[in-house]
């Protein structure tokens, strides 16, 4: 179950795992569809070819600001 792989992310599998709705938790994913970077078809959100080309940027965009900051500040000890 991974948005950044070509098989895409099943809305049902996400709901089954987390008990919530993917697009309710991460409404910004809908903007990927609007931008032509993903399609929602038959209950699966999958990146288009253009989306896959940009998948290295899409992943980090989904990180919450707090998480990003913690990742930045993280130092191996």
């Amino acid at each position: 179950m991974h948005l950044l792989q070509s098989a895409g992310l099943s809305l049902l599998a996400y709901a089954g795992r987390f008990g919530t709705a993917l697009l309710d938790d991460l409404p910004e994913l809908a903007s990927l569809v609007e931008a032509g970077l993903a399609t929602l078809d038959g209950g699966t959100l999958a990146l288009t070819e253009a989306g896959l080309e940009r998948s290295d940027a899409i992943g980090p965009r989904l990180q919450a600001a707090g998480t990003r900051e913690r990742m930045r500040a993280f130092a191996l000890r």
Binding site: Q5, S6, A7, G8, L11, L12, A13, A15, G16, F18, G19, T20, A21, L22, L23, D24, P27, A30, L40, D41, G42, G43, T44, L45, A46
Partner: protein
């Protein structure tokens, strides 16, 4: 305004509130309607069917959501059969306990009739219920099966899941009357494993201010034709039988804090339920997909 290509889904609920079942959690258990109420219900239903018959310029989906059980009444069977044969009706579905003989389905167009079937443990046997499901299967009729998720029902729900065709979606409605502590952790895990959408039903969707198709392309209609955006929002927005009824259909953000019912949140576009359920959205049936996962992702 271009009404030619417009589609309208109607959630119809007449005055009928009687039921042949006696579920202890239901306010309509074994309730009886007076003859006058039944006559009025049948009269209003006939008017509704006539109205649909005159709608040549739009396509329609209809879901009967009676307070009680409607399909023990011949008037509802006739109405569903007639509606299913109208070319403008894409889908006519009903919430039902499936407690009726299935012969009348022969008069229906099987590809357009559908059922939202609730199994009521204690009111009927699993075998009897499954035999009715098999009769729907024989005809190629779309349906979902579900249960009110009371803790006491867990063994029945497990047995139902094991016996039901694996392709048939089994929904579980969260039981709320005993508060949020009704379920133990293990119960929740079990219910969630059976119905991946159970958690959403239990928590509800924070809906206030969100876009929802109700009031625009989905409406709730009562026996008098009074139109509300959905069953949960009591504000009347118009009457189906007014000649200029279409003028009331407009986008309206949800005014309620929470939506906790499939027939409501299914129509919130941001959740993608229309895509997920496809043609089975009204009867709450997930599409039966061809064998094997769609994404053949094995390396």
């Amino acid at each position: 305004m271009n009404a030619v290509s417009r589609h309208l889904d109607i959630l119809y609920r007449g005055p009928l509130a009687s039921c042949n079942y006696a579920c202890p959690y239901c306010p309509f258990a074994k309730r009886r309607d007076s003859r006058e109420t039944l006559r009025r219900d049948a009269r209003q239903l006939a008017r509704f069917v006539d109205w649909v018959g005159g709608q040549a310029r739009r396509s329609l989906g209809i879901l009967f959501t009676p307070w009680g059980e409607a399909l023990i009444r011949p008037a509802y069977r006739r109405a569903m059969a007639e509606l299913s044969r109208m070319p403008q009706v894409r889908r006519v579905a009903a919430q039902t306990n499936l407690s009726w003989p299935t012969g009348w389905l022969d008069a229906c167009e099987p590809s357009r009739i559908a059922f939202w079937c609730t199994f009521h443990p204690g009111e009927t046997s699993l075998d009897r219920f499954l035999a009715r499901c098999a009769a729907l299967d024989e005809r190629g009729v779309s349906y979902s099966v579900g249960v009110v998720g009371k803790r006491e029902h867990l063994p029945s729900i497990t047995a139902l899941r094991a016996a039901l065709r694996p392709e048939i979606y089994l929904w579980i409605n969260a039981y709320r009357d005993e508060g949020p502590n009704h379920y133990a952790e293990d119960d929740l895990a079990l219910l969630q494993a059976i119905d991946p959408l159970f958690g959403i039903n239990r928590a509800g969707i924070r809906s206030r201010g969100r876009a929802c198709a109700t009031g625009e392309s989905v409406i709730s209609v009562d026996g008098d034709g009074e139109v509300r955006r959905c069953h949960s929002v009591k504000t009347r927005i118009g009457n189906l039988y007014d000649p200029d009824f279409d003028a009331v259909l407009a986008p309206r953000p949800c005014p309620l804090a929470q939506c906790r019912c499939h027939i409501g949140y299914a129509h919130m576009p941001h959740l993608g339920f229309r895509d997920l359920f496809g043609d089975g959205l009204l009867e709450r049936a997930l599409p039966i997909r061809p064998a094997g996962p769609r994404a053949a992702s094995k390396p």
